[in-house]
Subunit: 248 residues, 4 copies
């Protein structure tokens, strides 16, 4: 068994010039945006990624069918752009896994010809907020003006600790492969799934990629997600008990 | 030394069409059921599995003989079915280990010709309960009806966080090898070994595999287990102290 | 760099029939006994073991000279027995490391011709005690009588959680190499270095190996050790701070 | 992808006789000294080190440009000495990583011909102090006199727990490659970045390497660093939330 397995669903030579990452993170802000775009644009799933770095469990569909956690690659063929989407159930459970998974994502992106990566996430401020800013980071100075014109905000000291997980590493490790990287982070409390923050990120992303999408469904998706998070909380109780009994 | 070692006790070509997993977990519900079946059916041990992913310790028999923690494969040759049982002392201490061990279990199952896996566990609800439901999950929609007819319950949002450890991964990773997977989880408080929950799981499993077994000994085994758990609690104190002294 | 490195100090074919392990553990009971024997018998150091599984630090001699943590093999050539001692600064920081280090210890033991291993440790009871029992475990039923005659006590449910670290794994993994294993655990509070408990273990071990040694120095060594432990406690404060600053 | 990657910026045969390590640690004492020397001496960057053992994130420049965490090698060609500096953003997140990274640092040092390593750090005492001592450790007895003459203090029991991370391992693992090692630790509270302690370390180091540098900028650098630490604290909140959502 390999630490990371990538399965393409078809034998095809896909091409994409843009990659959009929306893996789970603070407030599920990035996940909501990417999943919304996939749904609205009717992007097609082209690959599954499984890894021993994901939590050792299965997830359950509404109908009780268990499936292995995965990250997924979707593809949308548009007029101006062909977009590769990276979404999924989890990020890595270990530090090393984050690096190795991101390296795999970038190998796929390079193979498909991606020239620019947009990574989407939330920026947890620890309290509820009214006016949501979308903080931005780039992996090349020359990208700033374009992002600022679209409404992304650069500040001298936020987020101070840097950007964690795939959203950050795709920029840092992408630069080493000469792939442009832009990270958009919607401010969010960090305590709840935050569709409002996702909407702010979506509007700026739309300007940047020049694709306009209907945002009404995003609100619905967010409500589903909220109940999902409630169920997660439930299960975390039983998890800790189970782990106890392993040791015992 | 290999990360995982499988030792077959005899040079034989075993065949099994069904696998039943009952490794330690919430309330030891699955473990009790599988061990009870092994005893009642007189299943024969055919293989030992040792791994660096198990806790770094030995266990002691009642007579003070130390033995390395292991997972064990038992086999029962019945009229309708030949069954492979997976039981043992521990599950993995690491996330990655869970995946790698489960992959090994599935390699053995495939080698023996297993077409369907039943994984047994407990579903911790965090409080004592009167009417125990047996929640079910499958790795293929088409298995649901059969399980529901036997009394397994599918709900839209339990267990919300998915199924952890081998009981879950055997379904998810089994599907990738085209092996049918059914998980039965007896509701339990999660605080105590729960033979009552095990009995509920056993009755549904018996219907599914068409084998009827006497359940009286299950109660006895449970009481033994209860005292065992008490001893575990004792030792966990000294464990944490020992670990401290390693660091010091 | 190898995960584990063994350096023999001389090019020699050493032979030993007995191995005695006294690595750090609860109350440093085993460590004190083994180090006392090495000193009293004038055992000679024959090998150094370094590993990435030890804590990532150096230790300091009284004179301020830093040295890499190591496990050490000493050898004593007696009339009846030639003994291999395993002592050292630390045990593994990871579960997997415990298995891999123990495997290395056993490879050395097998190479030197060891037929029997004595592992020494403390059994933490969580409170101060007057009459110290020495609990015992073996990896082969046939060894019990000999150990009981020497004063080792076997009980049905102590230590309930098994034996942790090298003292346990040497028995369990040794059995798989057909090496006899006996573990002696002196009762101790678990809060302090416990020379009194070490004396009890020493007296039983002496009977078993048929070697009588003066025990007066053991008390002195224990006092040194006590101040050492105080210094450890000091440093653990700064450790946690340093680790914080790594993350920060 | 390799666990550790070293990229030299030019194809050149660099030579250095001295290495100075100032990676992050208690009070950033060593980091401040090394960075100050690099600035004052105009040392030139010659290599980048990236690793999966660093935290899985990117850091952000004041202008919002993301960069992958790295350790860096700088070089200064002086009259008496050619110095290799090791500085960087983080140390390893895992025990094993500390050993493997230090082994890489030493391979580079050996390749450049380094004969002596100075490692710089802080010694956390847990309270604010007036008269800062600079504690010292060496990896060879014969180095003590020279260090004492320069003002380094050797005590019988400080730091009691040894020296953690690269500052310690470079001494211990360096000795195995016959490279002299001297560690200078400025006393510090351990709660704050401590330029005052760095100044004490710098003055002793200057004597030892026979290079005098202006210390005025060190104070300025320290103030920048203080605000940096504040930002780190901010981000640590959001980190823990993000990690939660990974598990969820």
């Amino acid at each position: 068994m390999h630490d990371i397995t990538v399965d393409f669903l078809k034998e095809e030579d896909y091409a994409c010039d843009i990659m959009i990452e929306g893996l789970p993170g603070v407030g599920q802000v990035g996940k909501l945006v990417a999943e919304h775009l996939i749904e609205e644009l009717g992007a097609e799933k082209i690959a599954d990624i499984h890894s021993i770095f994901f939590p050792p469990q299965v997830l359950l569909s509404e109908t009780g069918v268990a499936y292995l956690p995965s990250n997924e690659i979707y593809r949308y063929e548009g007029e101006n752009h062909s977009i590769m989407f990276l979404v999924g159930d989890f990020q890595s459970t270990s530090s090393e896994g984050h690096y190795l998974l991101t390296d795999t994502y970038l190998e796929i992106a390079e193979k498909l010809g991606v020239k620019r990566i947009y990574t989407l996430g939330g920026y947890g401020v620890g309290h509820l907020i009214e006016d949501i800013r979308v903080l931005a980071a780039v992996n090349d100075e020359k990208l700033k003006e374009e992002v600022e014109n679209a409404g992304g905000i650069f500040t001298a000291n936020e987020p101070g600790g840097g950007i964690l997980g795939a959203s950050g590493l795709l920029l840092g490790m992408g630069a080493r492969r000469d792939i442009e990287g832009i990270c958009l982070m919607g401010e969010t409390s960090g305590y709840l799934v935050d569709p409002k923050s996702s909407n702010c990120v979506l509007s700026i992303l739309s300007k940047l990629i020049g694709i306009d999408v209907d945002a009404t469904k995003l609100q619905e998706r967010a409500e589903e997600m909220e109940s999902f998070v409630e169920r997660i909380k439930e299960s975390e109780k039983s998890t800790s008990e189970e782990e106890l009994s392993y040791i015992g």
